[in-house]
Amino acid sequence: MSVELDVFVGNTTIMDEEVYQFWLDGYTVNDAVKVRMEGGVLEECEASAEVLHSDTMDQYRTFQMCERLLHSPAKLANQLLFQIPPHRQAMLIERYYAFDGVFVREVLGKKLSKGTKKDLDDVSAKTGVTLKSCRRQFDNFKRVFKVVEELKGPLVENIRQHFLLSDQLARNYAAIVFFANNRFETGKKKLHYLTFQDFAFCAGQLISYWTVGAVGDNLSPQSPDVYNMVEDMDVDLEKQFLQDLKELKILITDKDLLDQHKSLVCTALRGKTKVFNEMETNFKNLSRGLVNIAVKLTNTKDVRDFFIDLVEKFIEPCRSDKWTAGDMRLFLTHYTNSAHILDTFKHQVLWDRYMGVIKSCILKMYHD
């Protein structure tokens, strides 16, 4: 005797959040049943393994049927097949689009192509995230990327509206899209210590201040209508800005300016930090590092290496000198502000736009 057919369908779709998570995590039905049994749900309800299996199967089927709708979450609200209360819909979507930090770290900045997808089994083996879950997450990235690619307007807002995600999750997706679009290098060994959240924060900074969209917001106020029409406004760094950054070169090429800058910073920091001597010796190197990054950003290749450059040229030297986070903040603040006092330096606005982002990125990235 065997069960041939076993279904349970509710008018209001019945879903168990725990099982949903198992499904998302790519557990097979049997594995999910095993974990649930270990979780002690059986003792609570005096149920048998069969009962658990049947329940898990029902839920898995429901999720599979819902998956198609979750690909365009807006459909979930006005489809007729499943009657799901709004708060449940929100939960379904949010969890479906949630991703594992370790997984996203692996594909961050990579091209969201078939080739990358083929390598997902390696990623799965490396991260311990099941292949199924890897594929879902990867497909989510790709889907969001594809949709927002064709949309005009602010990136985060587009993602949030189109995929009905929470603000935080939408921001994370914006970061992923941004990284994928600019192909930032994140996989080098030296960058391994950085988490997705570090990168997401930096992406947020870059989007807010260095893209075309940022222009309307912060710098040259245009009418919102105009900048809303710009395509890829949040995805690409502003070309003109990158071009202008070349002007900063004077800070390191002009010997006087460099010395002046150094003495200003040193005066301000004297006695306030334990690593003053190291700072003083290293100042020119550090300043050259930061300014050179700015100068080279017109090359796509150097844009990709933005983070690796930050680490190599600035963070690593400071770390070997045992700067604290406080030292770092102090230095960057004065380094940025001192430039304003330099009388021959004319690019104050540009400098602030550049250093504002660099400062917050470095502060975020400066940890073990």
Binding site: E4, N11, D55
Partner: protein, 951 residues
């Protein structure tokens, strides 16, 4: 030509991609009614087309309006090849024909294809302009309201209850026509869906005509069924209770919401002179005539026989028979009622819930079954044979009721079970005596004599009093004086098919009681097969009854309500499932315990074994008393003349009632022993007792019943979850014994229950309302047996405090640029109950009666049989909800899935499923939303503690 139907096609959304090249669709719509077809323009290259068509107008007879559905087909335009159909929507426009129901149909409907399922949605607007037709020879019956609900609908008052209406129509099944060999499965499915839609429209119209003839305006307790007889055809039949309903004005509304629909003075039940006459000419066909002896009683009969199943029995001997003045009164009462009801052909009522005072006495369950051999229906216009079959059964039921001293049958229902050419027809109901005051026309001449009757039976216990003559009882029963009024005799156990009357006094809580049974039978053909089946049936009824009785005693209860016995036939076995809600009626005596008796008392070991068994039983009874909170006042002394003997022999009984002289009366009192003594003379019996005790107890916080009200718990919240569960088991070994089969069957049922408890654990405390209209059926592709266990849609009313959904405020789209259709989907509730706890039904919008076929040729790809069916059931729910929402409703009450036929052919990777659902579309409002409505039932709303009703 009294009607103009207008339809407008507004838009579509989520259409499937029909053109691979462009990933888009060039959709247009065909709107068809009768033989007229209109088309919209093609809306090119869009998955969300906006047709915004003109009004398509159909000028039609109201007869057609009733029979035909509006047929909407969405197609993909193709310049070079034939247009591809995307899917269809059938809209039943019947609700628009009644002025009090819906005024228009407007909304999004799922576009359904029998092969692909739901493929997008279409927004449609439908209206009807009706002209009055005063032609008395008309064939239409527009305006007659239909209700699936088996009580007087909540916002109506019954001015007159006319009585029983029935009708059946037959046709050839398109699936079995020669043309089916050359057409596609899709075409065949669609022909079938359309035919059934037409037939049920026709049936409804004909029943409506009968109602009009009787002077009524509504059918309550409308029960429509399909018999898929395969080669021999397709039968659609329906029964119901004709009524004249008055709409209650909102001011008087509060009354209707409770169970006490108190308007006795005007509730007139009028005798009906004969039944309608819309049958045409008839033809005879093969009538199997066989002589079959009934093994139990040994009376020969001239046909496949039905038999009586009297439930008010037990063999506890009669404790004293000193009647007070009850005797002559009863006779008088009987004469009164008789005159009124005997004029009817069938004094049957499909209602299960009545105004107080309507039911005078309840006799017990009457049921009849008959085994028939199907033969091809030669002429669809002549359904005579099928009619005759049912007529025969109804006659039988009528005479059974008479034998119980009753003149009416309430809670009446009919069903069939078909396996190849054998068909079991079953009917059951509750014999009852109705108040003569309700029977007379005019009803205002209620004189002193009526008063006497009322005095004789106070409302709270009157229905328990025996309707039959205690000196001339139709079966052995033990009578005592009523524990409430102490004036009339009551039986010790009462079985009924109706709901627990609102006025009934109950001790403790009730619970669902099920008896399950399997019987093997030899594979056979034709008459041999039919004989074998009808030989088995009495045994099955008998055993089911015994099981019910034992389980009832084990729970220390004394009455069953809502009893449904389903017997299904398969190729080599029969299945029986009886479900009912057990309660302890305060008016009836406390049930005695169960005693175990061994046959060979010499063996010491054996005695010990019996002793442990007895102890287990006693412990269970004690435990159950606690569980169900049954603590009757112990004042049983001096009530009865002689103390109730623990155990007494009962006599074999033979009917003495003159009206049932050719009837078989089944002695269900366990032969020579009374029902409460379990003899364990062989291993079978031991296992019986084991199985009796192995019924897993319900986990804490769960309650279950199959009646409208859960006895003993009254504080419901409006948290409601309806679900359907279907399971199919394949029995690998067909050589099992009856015993083994029973065990397996019981296990299956128990497992299903456990599974439900587990799934619904988050809802406790909650109550499962079972609606098991046809819970067993067989799918038997040879060689394997394959019982479909389908305890469908139970609605869970959670006593937990669930926050209501913010309707109409669901997550709407902010980015409307990509999705042009942003209206959130309204929530539609579904329930098998006739009401929604904590709410008030303000309007009935019409009956929902839908039939769907789904077929697949890629079973594996769709997730196997489970995936296929899961999806189909979800789709059916979606289509029901869409229709209700389009009518302007927000709930379906009295919902039931009447039919779910599943066939598969795994070798060909194919499966097919047919589902028939019905219910009443309604608009409800939450109690709290209503202003100026006094609180209803004292305990209607739950307290803020969110506790269940156990305290």
């Amino acid at each position: 030509m009294p009607g103009k139907l207008k339809a407008k096609i507004v838009a579509g959304r989520h259409l499937p991609v029909m053109d691979r090249a462009s990933d888009l669709t060039d959709a247009f719509v065909e709107v068809k009614f009768g033989n007229t077809t209109f088309k919209t323009d093609v809306f090119p290259k869009s998955l969300n087309p906006q047709w915004n068509s003109e009004w398509f107008k159909f000028e039609v007879d109201d007869e057609d309006l009733q029979d035909e559905p509006l047929q909407i087909t969405v197609l993909d335009h193709d310049t070079y090849s034939a247009n591809d159909a995307i899917g269809k929507v059938y809209i039943d426009i019947d609700p628009l024909l009644c002025s009090e129901a819906a005024t228009r149909i407007c909304g999004w409907f799922p576009i359904y294809d029998t092969i692909h399922g739901i493929r997008g949605e279409i927004n449609v607007l439908v209206k009807v302009d009706l002209f009055n037709d005063l032609n008395s020879f008309r064939q239409s019956s527009c305006g007659v309201k239909f209700f699936c609900t088996t009580s007087i609908p909540r916002c109506y008052r019954a001015a007159l209850v006319h009585g029983f209406v029935e009708e059946l129509v037959v046709n050839e099944d398109p699936e079995y026509q020669w043309i089916d060999r050359i057409r596609t499965p899709r075409a065949s499915n669609e022909a079938r869906q359309r035919l059934i839609s037409l037939m049920s429209g026709e049936l409804q119209r004909k029943i409506g005509l009968k109602v009009l003839e009787m002077g009524g305006n509504a059918v309550v307790g409308y029960l429509q069924c399909f018999d898929l007889e395969g080669e021999s055809g397709l039968v659609v039949r329906a029964i119901g209770t004709a009524c004249t309903l008055d709409k209650l004005t909102p001011g008087t509304a509060p009354n209707t919401n409770t169970h006490s629909n108190t308007a006795p003075a005007s509730n007139v039940f009028r005798p009906v002179p004969g039944l309608g006459s819309c049958r045409a000419t008839w033809a005879m066909f093969k009538q199997p005539v066989l002589d079959i002896s009934f093994p139990l009683i040994g009376v020969l009969n001239n046909q496949f026989r039905h038999f009586l199943f009297l439930s008010v029995l037990s063999g506890m001997g009669s404790g004293g028979s000193a009647g007070k003045e009850a005797g002559p009164l009863k006779t008088l009462l009987r004469q009164h009622t008789q005159s009124a009801l005997e004029q009817r052909e069938f004094p049957f009522f499909t209602l299960t819930c009545f105004p107080p005072g309507f039911l005078v006495h309840v006799g017990g369950v009457v049921s009849a079954r008959s085994v028939k051999l199907l033969d091809r229906i030669h002429n669809p216009d002549e359904p005579e044979t099928r009619d005759a079959w049912w007529e025969e059964i109804r006659q039988e039921i009528k005479s059974h009721a008479k034998a119980l001293g009753c003149h009416a049958v309430v809670g009446y229902s009919e069903s069939t079970s078909i396996c190849e050419e054998v068909c079991i027809l079953s009917a059951s109901g509750t014999a009852a005596m109705l108040n003569p005051r309700f029977m007379r026309e005019g009803c205002l001449d209620a004189g002193g004599s009526d008063h006497r009757f009322e005095d004789a039976s106070p409302p709270s216990c009157g229905f328990c009093h025996i309707p039959y003559d205690e000196f001339n009882m139709p079966f052995p029963a033990q009578l005592t004086y009523c524990y409430r009024c102490r004036r009339q005799k009551v039986p010790d156990v009462l079985f009924t098919t109706i709901d627990l009357p609102a006025e009934a006094a109950v001790t403790g809580k009730g619970c669902l009681i099920q008896a399950r049974l399997c019987r093997t039978k030899k594979k056979a053909q034709g008459e041999v097969n039919a004989t074998a089946i009808s030989n088995l049936l009495p045994f099955m009824e008998y055993e089911l009854h015994t099981q019910l009785m034992n389980k009832l005693k084990l729970r220390s209860m004394n009455a069953l309500f809502g009893l449904r016995i389903q017997i299904s036939v398969g190729e080599n076995m029969l299945l029986g499932l009886a479900s009912a809600t057990g309660v302890y009626l305060s008016a009836l005596p406390a049930p005695g315990g169960i005693q175990v008796a061994g046959k060979t008392p010499s063996d010491l070991n054996y005695d010990q074994h019996i002793a442990t068994m007895q102890k287990r039983i006693n412990d269970t009874i004690t435990k159950n008393k606690e569980l169900y909170n049954i603590h009757p006042p112990e004042s049983t002394e001096e009530l009865v003349g002689s103390p109730i003997p623990d155990r007494q022999r009962s006599r074999l009984f033979r009917s003495t009632s003159e009206s049932s002289d050719e009837l078989l009366e089944l002695d269900l009192s366990h032969g020579k022993k009374d029902a409460f003594v379990l003899e364990i003379d062989d291993t079978d019996a031991v296992e019986d007792i084991q199985s009796l005790l192995t019924d897993a107890p319900m986990p804490a916080g769960f309650y279950s019943c199959n009646t409208e009200v859960m006895p003993g718990i009254y504080n419901w919240t409006s948290g409601l979850q309806m679900f359907t569960s279907v399971r199919v088991y394949r029995l690998s070994n067909a050589n099992l014994t009856n015993q083994g089969l029973n065990k397996i069957f019981t296990e299956l049922c128990e497992n299903l229950l456990k599974s439900l408890y587990f799934k619904l654990r988050s809802m406790i405390p909650c109550c499962l309302f079972w609606n098991v209209p046809r819970s067993l059926s067989f799918v038997s592709p040879p060689p394997c047996l394959h019982p479909v266990l389908r305890p469908p849609h139970r609605s869970v009313s959670s006593a937990e405090r669930c926050s209501p959904l913010p309707e109409g405020r669901s997550r709407s789209l902010r980015s409307t640029r990509s999705m042009p259709c942003g209206a959130p989907v309204a929530v539609v509730k579904m329930t098998p109950l006739s009401f929604l706890p904590g709410t008030r039904i303000v309007k009935y919008l019409g009956i929902i009666n839908m039939f769907f076929i789904r077929e697949t040729t890629s079973l594996r790809e769709e997730g196997g049989v489970s995936g296929f069916l899961h999806c189909f059931i979800a789709e059916v729910f979606a289509m029901v909800r869409a229709h209700v929402a389009a009518l302007g409703g927000n709930a379906v009450v009295s919902y039931s899935m009447k039919e779910c036929v599943f066939m598969e052919n795994p070798n060909k990777n194919q499966a097919q499923c047919l589902i028939n659902v019905s219910g009443d579309a309604v608009i409800f409002v939450r109690e709290s939303e209503q202003e100026a409505t006094p609180p209803l039932m004292s305990s209607g709303q739950i307290s803020s503690t969110g506790a269940d009703g156990t305290t």
